[in-house]
Amino acid sequence: MSDFFAMGGYAWYVWGSYGVTLACLALEVFLVRKRARETQD
């Protein structure tokens, strides 16, 4: 399991990529949902 997270020594590069991508998409979904709620009424 820790081997998996270590990514053969490339943990920062691999998880840095996936983490930021996930954060960006989550933020966009949050913002667009917020905008949808605010324009609903």
């Binding site: 998996f4 990514m7 053969g8 020594g9 490339y10 920062w12 590069y13 691999v14 840095g16 990529s17 996936y18 930021v20 991508t21 960006c24 998409l25 966009e28 979904v29 667009v32 949902r33 905008r35 949808a36 324009t39 609903q40």
Partner: protein, 231 residues
């Protein structure tokens, strides 16, 4: 199919909601399958080790960044030519998602470049033209935000979007035209891919997931714009 019937924002509104729901579910399922194959099925790369696994988001994000721009410019051109209201709304709805994927492509490329080339950034043709794409998206968005009248904002944005299309073939062919540090295309429609089948499958699943995600988010956003502009 009655295309012009759907060209009206009011009639498109409920359809956009249905498309958003379906695409959102498809995006989640495709991403789950793509990530499973990308991390647990695809083998470790002989040259790049585990670092290559960035490919499963980097390449699909780069594809989306260019594809969304072309779609956005097509909507913008359609709006200019036919003066349909929905076209400009679609272009505005796509821009933030396109900018996001451009940023993701640059970010993941940078984190891939460090272990493979030894640097986070170089001013080579591929990286520079992709950075220009990000500025085109941001320019389009700030230009539209600066103009109060939405129809005028649509027309001004459309001109910028159409002129900027010239950058897309430059990004695509940059690795052929110039001697770039960035590698050439690993996948092409005219020849066999230069990577293992499981790697390719994972990458294509992630590309489809990003595609479905982009449709879902831009459909929700276009519904917001339709409401904000009073239907």
């Amino acid at each position: 199919m009655k295309w012009f019937w759907y060209a009206s924002p009011q009639t498109f509104y409920p359809l956009a909601g249905t498309i958003a729901r379906g695409s959102g579910i498809a995006a989640a399922l495709l991403a789950a399958a793509g990530l499973y194959i990308g991390f647990f099925v695809a083998p470790t790369d002989a040259q790049q080790g585990e670092a290559y696994r960035i490919i499963f988001i980097h390449v699909p994000a780069a594809w989306m960044s260019m594809f969304i721009y072309v779609v956005m410019a097509c909507w913008a051109a359609l709006g200019l030519a036919l003066n349909t209201r929905l076209s400009g709304m679609m272009a505005s709805a796509l821009a933030p998602t396109g900018a996001l994927f451009t940023f993701i492509a640059l970010w993941t490329g940078s984190l891939w470049g460090k272990p493979t080339w030894g640097t986070y950034w170089v001013w080579d043709a591929r990286l520079t033209s992709e950075l220009i794409l990000l500025f085109l998206y941001l320019g389009f968005m700030s230009l539209q935000a600066a103009i109060d009248d939405p129809r005028r904002a649509d027309r001004a944005g459309a001109l910028l979007a159409i002129v900027g299309v010239v950058n897309i073939p430059i990004i695509h062919y940059s690795v052929v035209w110039w001697n770039t540090l960035h590698q050439g295309a690993s996948v092409s429609v005219t020849r066999a891919p230069t990577m293992a089948a499981t790697m390719l499958t994972g990458m294509l699943l992630m590309a489809l997931a990003f595609w479905a995600y982009s449709i879902a988010v831009s459909m929700v956003r276009v519904r917001c714009i339709i409401r904000e502009r009073g239907g």
